[in-house]
Amino acid sequence: MLSMRGIGKSFLGVRVLSGVDLSVTAGEVHAVVGENGAGKSTLMKIICGVHAPDEGAIEIDGRPVSFGHPIEARRSGIAIIYQEFNLLPERTVAENVFLGREPVRRGLVDRAAMEEATARLLDELGENSFGPRDVVKRLPVAQQQIVEIVKALSVNARLVVMDEPSAALAEHEVESLYRLIGRLRERGVAVVYISHRLREVFDLADRVTVLKDGSRVTTLPIGEITPGELIRLMVGRDLGTYFPPRSAGAGEVRLSLRGAGNHRLRDIDLELRAGEIVGIAGLQGSGRSELARAIFGAEPFTTGEMIPARPRSVREGVALGIGLVTEDRKAEGLALRQSVRDNVLLVARAVGGGNRAAVGGLLERVRLSPARRDQEVRYLSGGNQQKAVLVKWLTMAPRVLLFDEPTRGVDVGAKAAIHDLMRELANDGMAIMMISSELPELIGMSDRIVVLRDGRIAGTLPAGASEEAVMRLAAGEAA
């Protein structure tokens, strides 16, 4: 029913998609996979009229369409679950679900109908922990995610796009999502399903399309491919050989936690050693970012002890020689309208200290082309933005550096560079903690993997542990 041909798109000069073809037939579940930053979400946003493609054509039932506004896409029966947060925190669940297409009776919004329909959909998802009238901002992320799913389903679309819908869900919730997708399929609804969890892809999909660096590698019936091959297609080479070699051994303890906790973390015991990269795994909402932020002093620990000291503020964290490369570059990492130079010098200027003279050398080291230094950061590619964030911290020569999703939305080249750099830093004696949702990366980089679940440490795995082992701990199935 949907077919896209030769889709191309660039943002601020960065090419994100080129010549992508995608066709989805009614009643099919079509998985789209690819590394972070491969362009999956962008492609979906084009399907849904958020972005207009620079090149290429979209057809629905053989009729060419071009959406200038999301509402036009919806009118032709397309619904989407966006990857990033897309709800109004101040409004109720029902109001969010029917946002922009509230049912009306005699010209008036029909609250009853709205809430009833919402309640029904919640039941179908087996979700009974909250109701249509709850205000969204009071729901935890996982439940907020459910609301987004319901929002998409309520459209009664012929094509439902799901961009990492399961990212924040617990096992049983994923189960009911499966059931739901099954029902959609029976109704002849087409589903485009994006996920980093290959298991889901193999459980659900009829066909899978692999994106890499913004172009399509292939599209295959799921039966004709194994997980191993799929990963190879996504990454383009064998993982094993790809990541930099691990360090000889860990040095002295730089930082250690004993029974540390706060509003979302419980008795965390953790040691970060010089020269070691510790990987933190866990589902979204498991508290990984919270852990990093707590160590850094942004949302301090309230209980337990931290050696050398428990920072009560960011500045104290920095003073202890701790740095945090935040999860969300655009919202937490960079002042987008300031120049690269001003961004990399920000910490040094704010807290004092730091080696400003070294900046030039550091920018060289991360191979951030000199031409770009006086450019506003927002004009840089995701990869270069991330490099800028890195340099911002390297200027402070931290003893402990925390990475939260360091390669999210970063293209493969920059990704490799960042990986190499992280390892170099470790070898130079820095203690590194790395959060990543991307298991291959996590496993490839880490000397040790600590798995979080619901704000507690679910277990620790040695280097080279299997994805399954990690997922089992993370999802809380009997190990």
Binding site: V50, H69, P70, I71, R74, Y82, N86, L87, L88, P89, E90, R91, E95, L99, G100, R101, E102, V104, G107, L108, V109, K137, R138, L139, P140, K151, H263, R264, R293, A298, E299
Partner: protein, 322 residues
């Protein structure tokens, strides 16, 4: 910012109505000590008369602010519309129809301009409406150097008649308030005003044409100002080029709205709070009148009250972001 640290806040409107009761009680006591009587028929009527015009403007302002915008042009628009009304009526009952129509048309047009400058030319609402305010001021000052036109007896009913203790003007205000409440809680436009004010991007991704919503909010806001202009014209028996600015309706309406617990950033709040906010200011006024406190003390107290109130809401609703 986190679920667990967030205590369930009471709706500011409720808080405010409680405060209102408290104030009335306090007023009663104070005036009694002063040997007077606080809630005489006249003072009750006075409170309503005094709040009607501001109340109506504030309702409109609420819509603009909820949509994430704001309107600094209302004061001059009020002056303009009072003149339009009085000039067209020219003392003739027969002209009332046209006059009202003209006022609504003029104000709607101004609202449209405000909205289009903001959404189309992408000028910040603050500057856009300030600029439009200047434009109107220029026109008014150019055309008029004093009260003009005449409002026929029959229309002055609006400004002076009352049913028992309730002035017609207060009824008009109530009408506007109910209409706005209805709009916000029962119509799509209302829902979308909240959505756009809450988060324009989310609204857009959910298929809302955010531009239109903002423009409409401004049209409604200006129309409310127009209605206030009609009311004032009927009270003054003529149009006055300074009635809007003398009343300080621009900043006072915004103050009343936030006093009513509507977030200046938009997407949060409602008319109930605004009504309470306006009444609170009016009761304060009356109280000061009765105690013959001079207008300077009044300003000081007003300023403090507004800031403190908003600070209280801020406490209730949000912790500190990381």
């Amino acid at each position: 910012m986190h679920l667990l640290t967030r205590a369930r806040p009471r709706d500011p409107a409720q808080v405010l109505f409680l405060a209102l009761l408290g104030l009335v009680a306090a007023g009663w006591a104070l005036v009694a000590l002063d040997g007077g009587q606080f809630l005489t028929l006249e003072s009750v009527v006075g409170i309503q008369q005094r709040s009607a015009a501001l109340g109506i403007v504030a309702i409109g302002q609420t819509l603009a602010i909820l949509a994430g915008s704001l309107d600094l042009s209302v004061a001059y628009l009020i002056s303009l519309t009072s003149l339009v009304a009085a000039e067209i009526m020219a003392g003739q009952d027969g002209n009332i129809g046209q006059a009202v129509a003209a006022v609504l048309a003029v104000s709607a047009l101004v609202g449209l301009v405000n909205g289009l400058v903001i959404t189309g030319l992408r000028v910040h609402a603050f500057i856009a409406t300030l600029g439009v305010a200047l434009i109107i001021k220029g026109v008014v000052d150019h055309l008029y150097d004093g009260p003009a036109g005449a409002v026929p007896e029959s229309f002055q009913v609006l400004g002076y008649s009352r049913i028992g203790p309730v002035p017609v003007s207060a009824l008009l205000w109530a009408g506007v308030a109910v209409a706005a409440w209805f709009l916000l809680s029962r119509t799509r436009l209302g829902y979308r005003i909240y959505a756009v004010g809450g988060n324009e991007e989310v609204a857009r991704l959910s298929g809302i044409r955010t531009g239109r919503v903002i423009v409409l909010a401004h049209v409604l806001c200006s129309v409310c100002a127009g209605v206030a202009g009609l009311l004032l014209a009927s009270r003054l028996g003529a149009g006055a080029p300074t009635v809007g600015t003398d009343g300080g309706y621009d900043l006072e309406s915004i103050a009343a709205v936030v006093l009513g617990g509507t977030a200046l950033a938009g997407g949060k709040g409602g008319v109930a709070g605004t009504v309470a906010g306006v009444l609170l200011l009016a009761v304060l006024d009356t109280l000061f009148n009765q105690l013959e406190v001079n207008s300077f003390v009044k300003d000081v107290v007003r300023g403090v009250v507004i800031v403190v109130a908003v600070a209280v809401y801020a406490r209730r609703t949000q912790g500190r972001p990381a």
